[in-house]
Amino acid sequence: MFDQDPYPSRKNTLNVPSDTTFFLAFIILSFIYIFLLIGIIVADFKYVDMNSIKRFFNDPNIIYSLKLSIISCTVTTLLCLLVAVPLGYLMSRFHFIGKEVLDTILDIPIMLPPIVVGISLLIFFNTDIIIGLETFLQNFFNNPNLRINPTFTVVSVILAQFMVSCAFAIRSMRTSFDEISVRQEQVALTLGCSRGQAFLYIILPRAKRGMVTAATISWARSLGEFGPILIFAGSTRMKTEVLSTTVYLEFSVGNLAMATTVSVFMIITASIIIFLMRIWGNNQHEKREKIHD
């Protein structure tokens, strides 16, 4: 009874739509973006001239800017990991009153234009409380030069980068911890671990890949940070100038070639980092390909 079609007069043919149309549509849509992306990068490279390249490697301002970029991005990345790992873990594993609210607050720097973060930092460090605290500490240590307000100093560069990058790092680490199942940790606790030991011996080794991702995101965002650095750190040559603000400065005085040269340098740096991280990531992945979770 089940092997006979009750409506034999119906044509039992199936017209499968073409797959070619599907792929063509998707490829064309993708290609629009890829074309633009490659286009702007190639245009940049073509605009660079020998003079600008020479100047790039010889101008002390630019060399300082380069050094500060590398140092500040590295310091910021370490600070981001220092905060994102514990906070990501806590947000992933524990429930508490007000968690939803905290979640929202932590996402704010991701949603806002970074320049808003810059202005907010400027205002925060110039509130009465901070100035009052600074005055108090100056009197207490009898040092009129003591400053806790980092505005327009190198510290402010790091702080500006940190406030934005850390939000991304926290999100990344939280996702990372969410994906590590709780079971192994629970077994470790029953075997005699404190929560700290379980974290150190069981979770951390499995979070390495996530940490590299979070570090890469932090480094990349810090390098690209512009608005808050301009507002909060200023962009004083030989003091608080970083590569992103160099591009802006050169552009604003009409040196488009120089601005482009610095841009090209940043494109190359970003590419190398992404490439290295990808290779490292694949290497780790192959080693642990068959892990059951």
């Binding site: 079971r183 192994q184 629970q186 075997l191 671990c193 404190s194």
Partner: protein
């Protein structure tokens, strides 16, 4: 506190909740050295009870006593319970050997003592040939054995098994079943084994409780050869 009777595991007026359900006024006792079983359908709360006994989940009310000590407010590490979850949950970044000695390293055993203990367990559980292997790529049966070895290493008073036979094929099922009987007999560890499969009651248990709705009732006592009030 009961005087005179030696219970290894006792739940008194115990209440747990997880998600939408609640099990209240649970009173369970398992005497020392006996094989206890908790039978319940999927989702009935048996894993929650086990997690609460181990200290991995907070209970709402009542007490857990292990060897007459009230451990209700103690951390999992302080309860001396060996926990074997479903699927083993072996530490994926460590070798079989490192998994087994994990609890011993925490207790600062010497290398010699650890090696000796691993030797004993390797023989008991037939995993001596696996020691240097990574835990990735072990078969289901091998994973269970290593997980058992890891849980037994530090001589726990209680062994908690979460559906140890559910994920195994028929042949391995019999193997591990025999192994569990052997472990109970040789190590005199008190065992709680949770499962949804009533067949295991007759095969293994000395004492079985069943989750019936929001209650937990004793349904089988091998010493009295009694089967009572079973809900299929």
């Amino acid at each position: 506190m009961r005087k005179g009777k030696k219970f290894m595991i006792e739940l008194i007026h115990f209440e747990v909740a997880a998600g939408s359900f609640r099990l209240s006024d649970i009173n369970m006792v398992i005497p020392s050295g006996k094989y206890g079983m908790l039978l319940g359908k999927t989702g009935s709360g048996k894993t929650t009870i086990m997690e609460s006994i181990c200290g991995l989940k907070k209970s709402n009310f009542g007490s857990v006593l292990i060897n007459n000590i009230n451990v209700t407010y103690k951390r999992p590490a302080e309860r001396g319970i060996g926990f074997v979850p479903q699927d083993g949950a072996l530490f994926s970044t460590m070798s079989v050997y490192e998994n087994i000695v994990f609890s011993l390293k925490l207790r600062k055993w010497s290398t010699k003592e650890m090696e000796h203990r691993v030797g004993e367990l390797g023989e008991l559980l037939k995993i001596s040939s696996l020691l240097n292997r990574s835990v990735v790529n072990l078969s289901g049966g091998e994973r269970q054995r290593v997980s058992l070895a890891r849980a037994l290493a530090f001589f726990p008073e209680v062994l908690c098994l979460d559906e140890p036979l559910s994920a195994l094929d028929q042949e391995t099922h019999k193997e591990i079943c025999d192994l569990l009987k052997k472990i109970q007999h040789l190590t005199k560890t008190t065992i709680i084994h949770i499962t949804h499969n009533p067949i295991e009651v007759e095969l293994l248990s000395d004492l079985t409780y069943q989750i019936q709705g929001s209650d937990v009732k004793l349904i089988f006592d091998r010493s009295k050869n009694k089967l009572m009030g079973v809900n299929a």
